[in-house]
């Protein structure tokens, strides 16, 4: 606690020297939780603004992908996916709703569980979501025979897109566990001040201080505060496995739209296990409509353009028990975190 207080004092001093508004974006759901849990936003000087970016994989999954996977389930295809993804509502309801209508839906903690379910249900489709941290596990499972609907995404192109399209971002608290896989060196392609941090209050505060130091000195480099888990080169075996099975393609992000090179498409050599190919006849018939609740501001919240408390539905008609948007569904979503820790 003493070191936190001293770090806050140092942050206040350097913020005073900078003397203009600074927006720092965290882009990892676990950092969103760490900042709120420790009340770090409230400790910041008036000119330091901490904003939440698209770090929650469930939240950034596009409505079209939710609608497609729900349509597959309603057509009788068994679906497995990671926890929170079953509750995200789409135009035809959520996977949870599909299960209530008789669909076979299996929330899993690990992809090994999906591989076990597949032995009983050979047509099982795994709904693959998540960034570079999770994509290697899906690649492993595809190589071991699992059929996958890939909504996986690469995070680094999204950071570049954010920098180009949101001129208010002055620096990134860069993701901890994505960086375990990709390594600190690969982040240097993003031309902004960055600090990869751990998840303790002190880690985040050190990250903020180092970012402010860079901004004061007009630097744009990658600093690695989370050296206890992140190396310069990352986990090469896991990273290479992603690109053995997937190729980079245009990715659809809720709120951000289409970002070239940010999606992970299953390579042709594994097309027999690509649910988008295998069930093309069902997916081609899905009618995509943008009937998503007009007042839900998840898309803007994901981009750091709006805070949860400025959404008219937040904690009123939209709650964890009755979520309208994925930002309230996922435990890493900005709205859910704000609800849980406020």
């Amino acid at each position: 606690m003493k070191s936190s207080q001293s770090l806050v004092s140092k942050i206040k001093k350097i913020a005073n020297e900078i003397n203009h508004l600074v927006n720092l974006m965290e882009v990892c759901g676990t950092h969103t939780q760490a900042i709120s849990r420790n009340g770090i936003r409230q400790l910041m000087p008036a000119n330091i603004n901490l904003i939440t970016g698209p770090g929650c994989p469930v939240c950034v999954t596009d409505q079209r992908d939710i609608d497609n996977i729900v349509a597959l389930s309603l057509s009788g295809v068994p679906i497995a996916t990671y926890g929170d993804a079953v509750r995200v509502p789409g135009n035809f309801g959520s996977l949870e709703d599909a299960r209530a209508k008789g669909g076979k839906v299996f929330p899993v903690y690990t992809i090994e569980e999906a591989l076990k379910i597949k032995k009983e249900l050979p047509d099982l489709v795994f709904f693959g979501i998540g960034f570079e941290t999770t994509a290697p596990m899906t690649a492993y499972a595809i190589k071991n025979g699992l059929t996958v609907y890939s909504a996986h995404k690469l995070f680094l192109p999204a950071m570049e897109y954010l920098l180009e399209n949101n001129k208010n971002i002055d620096g990134f608290i860069s993701p901890g566990h994505v960086s375990v896989i990709v390594g600190a060196d690969r982040l240097s392609s993003i031309k902004a001040p960055q600090v990869i941090t751990g998840f303790e209050a002190e880690d985040v505060l050190i990250g903020i201080y180092l970012l402010l130091q860079q901004i004061k000195n007009q630097q744009s480099i990658v600093q690695n505060e989370y050296t206890r888990a992140v190396s310069n080169t990352g986990n090469q075996k896991a990273y290479n496995l992603i690109f053995e099975v997937f190729e980079a393609s245009a990715g659809l992000w809720r709120g951000l739209g289409k970002i070239s090179g940010s999606g992970l498409k299953i390579k042709n050599q594994y097309s027999a296990q690509d649910a988008k190919v295998k069930f093309k006849n069902i997916l081609d018939k899905v009618k995509h409509q943008n009937t998503f609740h007009a007042n839900c501001k998840c898309g803007e919240i994901i981009q750091g353009l709006r805070q949860p408390k400025h959404c008219p539905m937040f904690n009123k008609s939209c709650t964890p028990a009755n979520p309208y948007g994925p930002c309230m569904v996922s435990v890493e979503g900005a709205c859910r975190v704000e609800h849980d820790y406020q």
Partner: protein, 74 residues
Amino acid sequence: MCLAIPGKIKTIKNNIAQVDFSGVIQEANTSLMDVPLKKNDYVLIHAGFVIQKLLAKDAREILKTYEELSKFSE
């Protein structure tokens, strides 16, 4: 979803490790690692896979954060 948790390897056989997470033993797949792993190594686990080998002191520090997070999530 990108949360990774540290644990200590109790046994390891054919790319499957039994990992001790603060007294709870669970399986973790080691196929994504290109460094050799052995009993008593500390590792970082994400979605059932070992993604990094850790130093013991670093694992303890990361574990402390995870326990705080779990407390708040209950």
